[in-house]
Structures are given as structure tokens and as C-alpha cells.
Subunit: 294 residues, 4 copies
């Protein structure tokens, strides 16, 4: 099978790389945190000493990094990976970054004849471990077909969002809606309970009615309504509030770039920043419920 | 079958009463608009000259009125229906009104030994015509059982939300979430399209992802994404923006009563009022999409 | 001088009544809290046992109560004061209440030939003690002229806002602007300081520039910028956050009544409610600064 | 007097350069729009063919450009002005740009021994023509003293905001407060008038009370309240809504950089973007009043 480099072994990257290993892909892996590299080396990956080392001989490069500046730093410039990779290499860039930043990396790859996809994910660390991530992919359809078997080893739903950068745009749109409806659900739960309703009853009514949304299906923010939701486990696990704040920030950058007005999305970002000020950034993003109760 | 009075034959009340007639209930009907009364009289109802006339001999009274003040005016006071109805009568009050107002009417009914339910609906004029409304019911469980056959003639989902007024609370909670997620969806659609995505593709990605919600399932606000949605028919039909503004206003009254903070719900109300200022109050509430496009 | 009844001797009413006493007005005073009555009795007022007792022989009635329901309860109905007062009496109603409520009391007074003013104040307990309150007055100009000497004994600026209820409208408009600009100032102070500016320098630049407003002149929310501001005294004294929340609630009621969209005012209310949830309702309203710092 | 280069002769730069000419400074000027260069050449300036030509022999360089990217393009890089200017040159950068961008240019200047100030202005085209601009200056105090005579030829208030970038931070803080209080004032004017108050009466009450702010003093958004305000001249003149949207965008970038929550500032940006969608970006920013009236 295809020699693959995997760069960025954080909370998401490590389980994603592990699923590729399990599917039989030969991986050479790198992260600045040596222990993550060692963990995967113990499971069959080859440890690399640097990103440049990792891509040696690779036909496919996959990366999962924290933010735009890391991605640009890795790929662009005279020392960047794009300057070192042979034409024809497939690059699957899975980080959640600004669409503009993704387009910059796409343009550089295109110039060098490298086939690149922006392929941010949703589904959190649980989805990464279970191999059930959703990929929202930007780039050429034929490049996506080339990448599909590897994506399928890490995820379940694979959407072709459109051309270069479209994966990132779809991701920020989706996560902005998610944040807003999480807050809206939290507001409604607090208001209903304060006015005498049982939380589980209200949750069920809204879930089955026109207020229904993903948070009511899978992720109710009121403790005890859903046994396995982060809210019922002290808002632990799941998707950290500070990461939601990051994604909402990317959404605002995207809206600024195109001149869009997004009052709900903007307010969601501000409310998440209030939560971060209260020291709750490391808790699951459904902890926004606590803003609305005493 | 049970002799029933139906008071309030507007866009919702008329098709609801018609479904009761079709189910075989003997109805005596009243509305200030004589033509609505005549329409139903032509379909088998008995026309009443006044609300007081309508309730004569009735074992059940159903009402569907525009706002709190009409409901209080109909039932309360020395001339109100509660002062005229015999103990034991069943009253199904279906208007969407302030929970506080509903509790006031409940209290007066309880004093007189009258079994009352607050039973606001969702599902719009389409659901009223098709007999597929959702009822959110506040009051005693045994009273709900007594009313259930008649509710089932008009609707599909019947929820017992809790004690007196709980139906109204559930309704405003649900509709507040609905309004917020409609606006959030409209913002995201506009932002995604402005950044190069196909509307139908973006809509489908979000629908299947964590941004999924009822508006993406049934009621996409972007013209052309869903053939039968109001957005694809010039924002006609459906649920008028001015009625959504009314419900959001009731939600804010409810939040004020309990001291709840609902930033998203409050902002939704203000945005709908901007729409109303633009003369779009009579269009379907998904017309909020137009705030975000040129 | 004119025999006067003063009803409502809370944090505002007591010092207002004291200033009338000092100006030589013969006062008969009532409050549900007996100790407040006794305090003023010790300073020359006549203690009354009830509101009805207080108005006996009064040519002028002044009231200062917490909310709409107290005012309506005092004046309206068969047992209300308006039913007992002789035509020609002057009533100066100083409570901050809903304009609609004020208009209801005005209408009842007019029917009975009683000259009534809605005359809410601003200036806080400091202004009440110092006799420097601002009165915003609704009602007939000639009635205001009749009341002016007494108002002048309690305040400094006396504005004729317009007809019945206009005093209340002016008050809620003013206080909504005040709340919004307090929050805007607090946001800017926090942002500027986080980006390296000295608080006093930033405050002074904005004060002298187009960002200038009353809070920057008199009431900076950043501790230490103004020696005598509540912010420099642990947010004590001044105007309690929960009273600002009450006034913002009245503003929203007023906006709902007329169908106005006030996004900033609505958001201000929601942010104050978040503060109240955090247990800060009894602190000065500039404590909103703490939402924006860690 | 000091040989000076002035680069950027738009609506603001041209009248600023003219005031320096009138004060006797020998100017060599450049703009991409040749007619602007010719205008000033006709008034005594020397026309330059390029920015590089303009700075030849200059002891002082002043620039006034539209946005961060223009400023970075002018000064940075191998072809940028900083690479060409001798150590000891004074650069007064008057554009309104992101603080981060200003700090980047400062750092490059410092490395080369060039004395640079970020010195954004407020006061609009009127203030630029009259020489009454406000300068908010970031950089070393002694550099400011060196620049002061030239700043004084163009403006009236000169504030030392703090170290590198502080001028830009002060500017975005100030303009964010300005935008929010403009909208708050517009909301209150619309609400008061809809509830029966005379616009001029309400404006005057708030101006003298705790709602007082710069917009009520100088720039009332309700047509007819202030004869010389843009609102009374069809919202022409003044400061364009699209420029306010730009400044609010810079404020949000600044807040993102430091992780600040600014709900009012964020909402103000979104409301201005709604206005821009309505085609009102070229009108004075007080045109936001029209959002709130029919």
C-alpha cells in the first residue's frame, strides 16, 4: 500500500493515524511532542525526526495541525514541504483553518503540480477514535476519489463541498450553526425549567418539534437529560469550548472576507469568549448552559 | 358524541374545527367574522350568534384566539365564559398566549370546577388543514386523557408538557429555538454561498452534520434548495414572520417573568422586528434569509 | 404651605421627602416599613398609618414606589387613592414604571379631575440626597408649572418630556442608552488594556473624542480611573445592576408595545441578566466591567 | 524647514497635505491617482512619480493609506520604503490599520533605526480640511515630540496613547464605542418618537442626562434635530458607513488577537453590514437610524 506521512499527532491526529495503521497503511509519523510519535511507533508506525524526514518517499502526506499559521508554516516558503515534495504527491490537509489560508496553500500546491485537498473534520475525539469522522472536502473531485479509501479508513461521511477551500467554508458554516443552536437550546432549557417544566420532558418535546436540532438529538446541554452526553459527565469529554471559540473566530474571519452579516454567529463567539474568561475553555462546549443558570 | 363549542375561526381555528366536524363531533361555532361561521355552518356546524350562545349545552369548549387579551376577555370577569359554564365542563384553550395569562385563566377555571387545558399548537395552517398539528398541553394528566380523542382529530403529536401553563412555556421555548436556528441557518447559507459553495451542497452537508436542525430538514430558507419550502415559493405560505415576532415577544415576556437571560432569543426578536419594519411581516418567517443577501 | 402626602420612603423616597421637609413643606408620610416613617417623623413629618390616612387633607400627593403593580395598586380600583382624592388634587407620581401603566393611571386621574404627572427621576440615591435629581415629566404643561416649586426642592433639572406617560418614555430611552454605553465603555476599556494601553490614558482619549459619553465623564467602570466612581470603591454605591435590569426590562416592554427593534437595548438587558445570575445584582451597574476581564 | 514626503492623497490625505503646505513645509507628494498629485503640485508641492521618488531627500515621511495591506506593501519587504530610508528618518504613519499590522511595521522600522509613529486620526474629512483632526499616537514619547509641530499643522488634539501600535488600539476602542452609542441613540430616538415624544425634546433630555454622548452633542441621527448634522442633509457628508464597518472589523480583529469579548462591538459590526447590504455604505454612518424606522 501507499507510503504515507502523517504530521500532527494531537488529540485528533493520533487516533486518525492509528486508524490508518490498522487499515494497513505504512505510516511515517511526526509531531513536535515526541511521546505521541513513540506511541504510534509502538503500534507499527515509523518514527520521523522532522516533517521533512516524515515525507521522505511518501506518496501521500496527511496533516492535522492546530491553526492556520502552523499549516502555512509547514507547507509554504522555501523550506516548506511543498518545495520538497515531488509533483503528483497527494496532500490531505485535515486541519481546521481559515478558508483564505487554505486557498493560499492550494495555490502553492497547484503551481508545483501537487494534488491537495482541504479536508477538515467534524465528530470530535470520539469520532476520530471510532473512525466515524465527517470529512468536508475542498478541491478537485478526482483528487477526492484518489483520497477516498484513506478518508474512509478514518471517517464515515465524506462530503465534496466544492473547489479549493470549500471544505473549510463548509466546516465554519456548520460549526457556526452548531454553536448557535447549542446556545439557543441551552437558553430554552434554562427558561423552560425556570418556568416549571421537567428538563427531560421539554427536551423531548422540542426534539420532536420544529425546535429539533442535533444538540437535542445527541448532545443535550442540561445535565442528566442524556446519560452519555458531556453535560451528564461534568461537561468533560467532547469538544472543548475553546475550540468552538476558535472555529467561531474562523467563521467571523470568513464573514469579514466576504462582507457577510452574521449577528447570531457573532454573538455566539462573544458568549463563548465570556465562558473562556470564566475559566471554562477546557470543558465541553455544552458548558455554555452554565451561563444561563445560577 | 359530545356537544362542543368552538370559538375563534381564523386561519388556524377554521381548519381545526373542520377536522372535528369530519370526525363527527357536533359543533356550535362562533367568530366575530360572520363569513367564517357561515362557511362551517355550510359544512354541518351550528352557527352561534355569540360566544355565550355557542357554549349553550356544550360539554366541551375549544378556543383559538389571537392573543392573551382576547383569551382573558373571553373567559374572565363577570361576563366571561367561566362564569357561565357548569362545573365539569372541559375547556381546551389552544391559543398561543403568555404563560402567565394562561395560569390566570387556569386559576379561575379551577375555582369554578372547570377542567381546563392550555394546548397551544405548532404545525401552521398546513398542519391544521391536514390534522397533523402538534399539541403542547399544560394541565392535569387526567384532563388531557379526557381531551385526547378530540386533540387526535386535529393533530398527530400530543405532548403533556406539565402543569397549568406548561403547554405555553413549551411552545415559547420551542419557537424561540426554531427562530434562532432559522436565522443561524440563513446566516450560514448566505456566508457559504458568498464564499463559493453551492446552496444545495452546503445545505445537505449541514443537514447531515452537527449543524443539522429542523429548518435544514424541512424548511430551508434559501430559494430553490427545497422545492416545497416557502423559500421556493416567494416566501409565501407557511408561518408569517409577524407571528414569529409575536411568539418571540411571548418568549421574552416569559424570560422576564423568571429573570432568564436569553441573548439569542432576544436578538432573534429584534431581527424579526427589523424585517417587519421592511414590510415583510406577512411573508413566511424564512424570509429572514433576505436580511443577509443583497 | 401646601399640605402634602408622601408615599413610599425607600432609598430614593426618603431623601426626597426629607428635602421637601427642609424646604418647609408640611408632610404626612407613609411606607410599609415603619422605621422609615419614624425616621421622617423625627425630622418633622407627620406619620400616617396607611396611604389613605396620609392623603387626608392633602392638596398634593407624591409617590415613589418600586414597580408598575405597586403604583396601579395604590391609585386604581374602588379602594385606590384616585377614588378618594377630591378633584383638583395634584398627584406627582415619581416611580419608574411602564409607560402603559402610567397612561392607565393618568386616564383614571383625568376622569376624576385630578391633575397627575408622571415624573420619574434620574440621579440615584446621591442625587436624591443632594436634591440634584433630574425629573422627566409627562402631563400637561400647566400641571408641571404647579408642581415645579416642589420638584425644584428635590431636583435640579426638570424636563417637560411631553403628554401623559412621556416622562416614563424619556426615562426608559435615556436609561437604555446609558446601559448600552456603559457596556460599550467597559468592553473598550478591557480591550484597550488587554492590548497594552494604560486605563487612564485610554479613558481620557475616548472622553475627549467621538467615543465620549456620560460614563467616561462621570462614572468610568474601570477601577482606579476615577477616584469617586463606584468602580473605585468595589462597585458599591451608585445605581444597582438589578435596577438597571429592571429599567431595561421596561424599555423592552415599551419597544414591544410600539413594535420597535432595539438590538443594542435588548442585548444590554440580557447581559445584565447574566450579571444577576452571577450574584452581582446588588452592586453598582458599572460592575458589568467584570464580565469582560478574567 | 524639513523636507517631507507625503504618500496617499485621498479624501483625508489631500487636505492634510494641503495644511502642511500652508504651514510652510516643503512637500514631495505621491498618489496612484495622478490628479490628486497634480492638484497639490498646483498649490506648491513637488510631484513625485512613485513612492520611492517621493522619499528622495526626505527627512520625514507621512503616509495616509486605506488599509493594512497597503501600508505593509508600502513599507515592508526588499522593495519597501523602510529598506530605502536612511536611519534617523521620521515616519508618521496616519492610516487606520490593524494594531498587529502597525506593530509589524514598527518592528521593521526599529531594526533599521527609523523613528516611526502610528498616528491614526479621527475627525473626518471636515476635520482634515479644517486642520482640527485628533491624532492618537503610538510610539516613543520623544519621537512624538519630534513630530508634534507637523501634527499640530494638521490637527488640534494630539494624544500619546502609548507604545508601538497603541495609537491604533486607541482608535479602534474609540470608534467601537462611537458606533455602539450611535446605534443606541438611533434606537432610543426611534422608540421615543414611536411612543409620542418630540425628537428634539427627547434628544435634549438625553443629551443633558446620563444618556449623554458625543452623538447627542454633535451628530444626532434623527433628521432635523441638528441643522448641520449629516442626518439633516440626507445623511451626506461626514463619515461613511462603510468606513465605520471597516473600523469595527479592525476592532474585532483586535479583540480576537487578545481574546476579548465585546458583544456590543460585535453586534454593531453586524448591524453596519446589514446596512451595507441595503446599499447604504456610502452614506454617513448615522444612516443606521433608518434601520429602526419604517
Amino acid at each position: 500500500m501507499t507510503q504515507t506521512a502523517f504530521i500532527g499527532l494531537g488529540h485528533m491526529g493520533l487516533p486518525m493515524a492509528r486508524n490508518l495503521l490498522r487499515a494497513g497503511y505504512p505510516l511515517k509519523v511526526f509531531d513536535l511532542v515526541r511521546s505521541a510519535v513513540d506511541t504510534l511507533a509502538g503500534e507499527g508506525a515509523v518514527a520521523a525526526d522532522s516533517a521533512a524526514d516524515a515525507i521522505d518517499q511518501a506518496k501521500v502526506v496527511i496533516s492535522m495541525l492546530p491553526a492556520s499559521r502552523h499549516v502555512e508554516g509547514l507547507y509554504l516558503g522555501d523550506d516548506g514541504l511543498l518545495a520538497r515534495l515531488p509533483a503528483g504527491t497527494l496532500v490531505i490537509e485535515c486541519s481546521t483553518i481559515a478558508p483564505e489560508s487554505a486557498r493560499k496553500v492550494h495555490a502553492a500546491a497547484r503551481e508545483r503540480g501537487i494534488a491537495l485537498l482541504d479536508a477538515p473534520v467534524s465528530g470530535g475525539t470520539g469520532g476520530a477514535a471510532a473512525g466515524t469522522l465527517t470529512f468536508m472536502v475542498g478541491g478537485e473531485a478526482q483528487t477526492l476519489e484518489r483520497a477516498r479509501p484513506m478518508l474512509a479508513a478514518m471517517g464515515k461521511n465524506i462530503f465534496h463541498a466544492g473547489p479549493e477551500g470549500a471544505g473549510q467554508v463548509a466546516k465554519v458554516c456548520n460549526n457556526q450553526v452548531l454553536a448557535v443552536q447549542m446556545i439557543a437550546t441551552a437558553e430554552a432549557m434554562a427558561m423552560g425549567v425556570a418556568n416549571g417544566l421537567e428538563p427531560a420532558v421539554l427536551a423531548e418535546i422540542m426534539r420532536q418539534s420544529s425546535g429539533g436540532n442535533w444538540t437535542l438529538e445527541k448532545y443535550n446541554p442540561w445535565p442528566g437529560v442524556m446519560e452519555n452526553a458531556p453535560a451528564s459527565k461534568g461537561y468533560s469529554g467532547g469538544f472543548m469550548a475553546e475550540l468552538m471559540a476558535k472555529d467561531l473566530g474562523l467563521a467571523q474571519e470568513t464573514a469579514s472576507h466576504s462582507g457577510n452579516s452574521t449577528p447570531m454567529g457573532a454573538l455566539a463567539l462573544q458568549l463563548y469568549r465570556l465562558l473562556l474568561k470564566q475559566g471554562k475553555g477546557k470543558q465541553d462546549f455544552s458548558v455554555v448552559q452554565q451561563l444561563f443558570v445560577e
